[in-house]
Amino acid sequence: MAILEVSNVQFNYPKGPQCLDQVNLALNTGEITTILGPNGVGKSTFLQLLCGLLQPTGGEITLNGCAMDSLSPAKRAQTIALVPQMNQIAGLPYTVLDYLLMGKTASMGLFHKPQSADYQAAEKVLQRLNCSQLLERSCASLSGGQLQLVTVGKALMQKPKLLLLDEPTAALDYKNQVEILRLLKDLAHSGLAIALTSHDPNQAILLEDRVALLDKTGHLRVGPMTTMISAENLSQIYETDLTVTFVPNCQRLVCTLMI
């Protein structure tokens, strides 16, 4: 079932070139869509359009059948949660618990504060992410991997149906990358629709679901990972030579740069 539908969307910043051109995409329950593309192509911009932070200059985005621009930020946040890039949240002065509780904002009134059920929900979310020990730690003192888990935790506090992640593994080492990717797969299994941006085609291969390739002309091509991840497609969008080979030991494709 499509939670969010993008129909013929166009976008450009004022006085800027066309960023997205006639883009179509449906984000469905239980699916992970990895948006791949080179630097500066507009992946983060696209994500901001998907969660209503920016308005398209043409076309339409609907959330559960309602036009995105007709919904209030609180209504949108009850369905969509955004995990921003890690450099956007580095140095946060709050404790992990206080940061997680902010995820409940959309379901609270303007003058309300978190209740005991919200504190319990925060505890459960941290248990699910296997990092209960972080509850009282300051966000500023966390490692990159821990901080990324906590930001996903705050997004989960919103109880979203669609999770959008902006380069969730960009600054992480291999162990933490694997942890985040496993978590995303688990979340998709539990019925969440997920869309994430990435520079690395190998992550799309590991996630084994849908891939959206965004090129410099602003066109988006979407399809299953097995058809979208090819040397030809990737070399074209990244404008460099790449190979995609099947590695029998891992039983999967691997994308390699050619120097």
Partner: protein, 341 residues
Amino acid sequence: MKEYIAHQKHHRLIFIAALIGLVVMIAIALCLGRYVLSLSTVWRALTHPFWLNSHQAITTPEMIVWQLRMPRILGACLIGFGLSLSGGAYQSIFQNPLVSPDLLGVTTGASVGAALAILWQGNIVTIEIMAFIVGLVTVLLTILVPTLIRSVNNLTLVLAGIVVGGFMQAILGLLKYLADPDSQLQDIVYWQLGSLAKVNYHTLGATLPVFIIAGGLLLALRFRLNVLSLRPAEAIATGVNLKRERLLVILCATLLTAASVAIAGTIGWVGLIMPHIAKLLTQQNNQKALPLMAVLGAVFLLLIDTLARSISAGEVPLGILTGLIGTPFFIGILFKQRGRL
């Protein structure tokens, strides 16, 4: 969660200690001054108010307690409360620990409004309204400058505050030049220096609703202030109506500053120091820090005012004492923030 519950208790104890500190400070402020009263004399004056014994003439201690010191103490508490809350709110919504009503130029702007009202021979309500209008224009101008030069960061906002505050200072200078030197000039200079000497029940009564409404709203919004202190994109994606809620906070914080200026003129540093101390004691969480900074602000200004009227035969302007404490404190914050500037 056990750790959290322990922290909750710890924060509650700090708040109770601050409230006790306030009561103690009020008692000290009632006793001290050029005419020192014993605690028992103050107690007698407080428990047997002269207006209940209409047959007896008012005694000197009763007059000192009820007519001289009490309005001044209430004024110090209200202004400390207002400036602290206002500074804490500005720091949160601008995600900037360096800002306060005075560093954003709001206090100077509000003084210009007050000076204009004095030139037009307005009463306390007119002074309050004018202080609010010009204070609001000043804060909006300060926000506009970094946006215009496309450099929105902690330092440019403070620099914009200094520039806009300087501009307002120039207008204030012009108004002083135009003022009648025999009457209006004296009043404007009084407002500029900051003093609680002229506070009375009438001015308190005229500004009290502003402190209650704007202060109450900010306290009610204290959890929201945490969310508003996130980066704009994340705050909106979390579910806040950023423009509307930020505007509401700016209006409340500016109203509190304007009401403070209307009572006692420009009193610097309170809105910078107290939010920092409160946040330091509450793990930066506005939900707990805001009530604490309100009480600490009242205690601090009460202490400053008691010192101002007790340490010498004349009265030391409040700005001198707050500045002596505030300047090293601000250097300390700059030092702590050096990596992020």
